[in-house]
Amino acid sequence: MPQSESELFRALSESVVEMDEDASRSLSEEAVTREIDAYTAIERGLVDGMNRAGDLFESEEYFIPELLLCSDAMYAGLDVLRPHLKVKDAAQRKIKIVIGVVEGDTHDIGKNLVKIMLEASGFAVIDLGRDIAPQRFVDVALSENADVIALSTLMTTTMDAMAEIIVKLQEAKVRERFKVIVGGGPVSPAFAKRINADGYANSAPNAVKLVRELVGAVA
């Protein structure tokens, strides 16, 4: 077992990068046993590891299979550490993002990766899932008082559903309350502009950067 706190954080981070669920879980338990601050262990250990995994994905050393297993390792540690978060850390108001794959499409790996990277970056993510009707994005964003609506599709056939959601927000006169971001295979910056979305990202790590820019958050 690592000696110092910083060694433990480094080992936690490494367990995520190395896709080692068991190590992530046992190192997180070790942190709990040693009464190390859970928030710090998450930030400097698990989240740091997931960010490094995201960098490896960006540089095409890691691909979707690796990134999914890294996230499994991250969540294994989070399950151990989360119950030990101090109340103030757990209750802190987070930027809230409603995410989903638009109606007519069930490809959700891309959406899942964006969700993972957003959660790892400290955002609160409400995942509606896949094949989601336009009105449901609007309803949940309103009832949850979300800051951002993130829309995904892999299919050219379902791109129009993205536009429909924005039209519904405009009709309900609530468009200005949300930042709407779009992504997925056929989507492009030009398309985002055309449908009056607030932004487009071409990868999960870039979606995190985009959200930070749009909401001005340091999360």
């Binding site: 299979p65 499409d105 094949d131 056929p186 492009s188 030009a190 398309f191 055309r194």
Partner: protein, 363 residues
């Protein structure tokens, strides 16, 4: 614009012999857009080989492109093996539920019987009818989904992705049963006078690494190509998204023609593998064909031709992937007309300085 002097079959035969053509071959990859030509709903193709053939024949006659393909979606193989596919009223079908939800159930999967299972018999009927109608002038292909991609539809893409690293042997068992199914379907496609064309979307370097393609994608594709070569059929292979890291491995499958997505660079492909395979591509289906103007389509055709008309093994001017259903007819016409306007022999000097579109998928 005036119709062509040669039929597609005459054009390909002359191209193969290095003789003069009337124009380069051109293939806007028409899938369910064929429903619009006939004024029917996409969902009506389900279980109706006669209608599917009629629509594809009508689309071929309407636009005059060089390869006809019987295709509705990528799920036909997986559906015939037990996956549940959802059919919206008038849009392309999509996967609702994989066939199995755990590794333990892999051994319960059986190769599909192409004469009985799912929509396969109807697709075969459509192929036979299309060959009857226009087979003397144009090659009719049957869409065949690659084993790795079918495997992902059988067990679910995220589950498959995890298994690749945790339990590679299970992935190989899935790919093997998908391959056996694909071989049986390929045989049936040949029997009705068509040739299969292969699509293996999940092998994309946007999804898996080159090493993973070598392990889980390439070997099964190679066996399919070997099977088809043994029956004297040339094979076209399409893999979506980025593919540059696997171009060489794609050539190693033995495929005769690679269809290059607009997320990859046609000029780079020519430089890298143009001596080994014919290339087809790569006009963006969404940004240019669906959303662009005819003038933008024309400009992008000229970009493709400029980049790869001198490919040693030849070029088919094509879209980077299947066309969205609602692609305007005017843009498909513009694609063919632009190729006719360039004519033969291609005068590259005329194409230099043609307005170039920013390729949106490479942002």
């Amino acid at each position: 614009m005036a119709r062509d002097a040669m039929t597609p079959k005459q054009r390909f035969a002359a191209y193969a012999r290095g003789e003069a053509l009337d124009r380069l071959p051109c293939v806007p990859i028409v899938g369910n857009t064929a429903a619009r030509v006939l004024g029917v709903k996409v969902s009506e193709f389900r279980g109706n080989g006669k209608l599917l053939a009629a629509a594809q024949v009508a689309a071929y006659r309407r636009f005059g492109y060089d390869v006809m393909r019987i295709f509705t979606d990528l799920y036909t193989q997986a559906e015939a093996m037990g996956a549940r596919v959802h059919y919206p009223d008038d849009e392309t079908a999509y996967l609702a539920e994989p066939a199995i939800d755990s590794v333990e159930k892999i051994d319960s999967l059986q190769p599909a019987d192409p004469r009985k299972a799912g929509n396969l018999p109807h697709h075969l009927e459509a192929m036979a009818r299309a060959v009857d109608a226009v087979g003397d002038e144009v090659a009719v292909n049957g869409a065949l989904t690659g084993p790795f991609t079918t495997a992902s539809f059988l067990i679910g893409a995220d589950r498959l992705a995890r298994l690749m690293l945790r339990n590679p042997e299970a992935v190989h068992r899935l790919c093997e049963v998908a391959l056996q199914s694909a071989l049986a379907y390929a045989e049936a496609i040949l029997e009705v006078g068509c040739a299969p064309s292969l699509t293996d979307a999940m092998c994309s370097s946007t999804v898996i690494s080159a090493r993973q393609f070598q392990e889980f994608g390439q070997p099964y594709l190679r066996r399919l190509v070997e099977f088809l070569h043994a029956r004297d059929r040339a094979v076209t292979l399409h893999i979506c998204g980025k593919t540059r890291p696997i171009w060489s491995a794609m050539c190693d499958t033995g495929a005769d023609c690679l269809s290059i997505d607009n997320a990859a660079d046609l000029a780079e492909a020519k430089a890298s593998i143009g001596g080994r395979v014919r290339l087809m591509g790569n006009i963006p289906p969404a940004e240019v064909m669906l959303l662009g103007t005819p003038e933008q389509v024309r400009a992008d055709v000229r970009r493709c031709v400029r980049q790869a008309h001198d490919n040693p093994k030849g070029l088919i001017v094509a879209t980077g992937c299947s066309l969205p259903v609602e692609t305007p007819f005017a843009n498909i016409d513009a694609m063919l007309d632009a190729v006719r306007e360039i004519g033969w022999p291609v005068n590259a000097a005329e194409l230099v300085g043609a307005a170039e579109l920013e390729n949106p998928c490479r942002a």
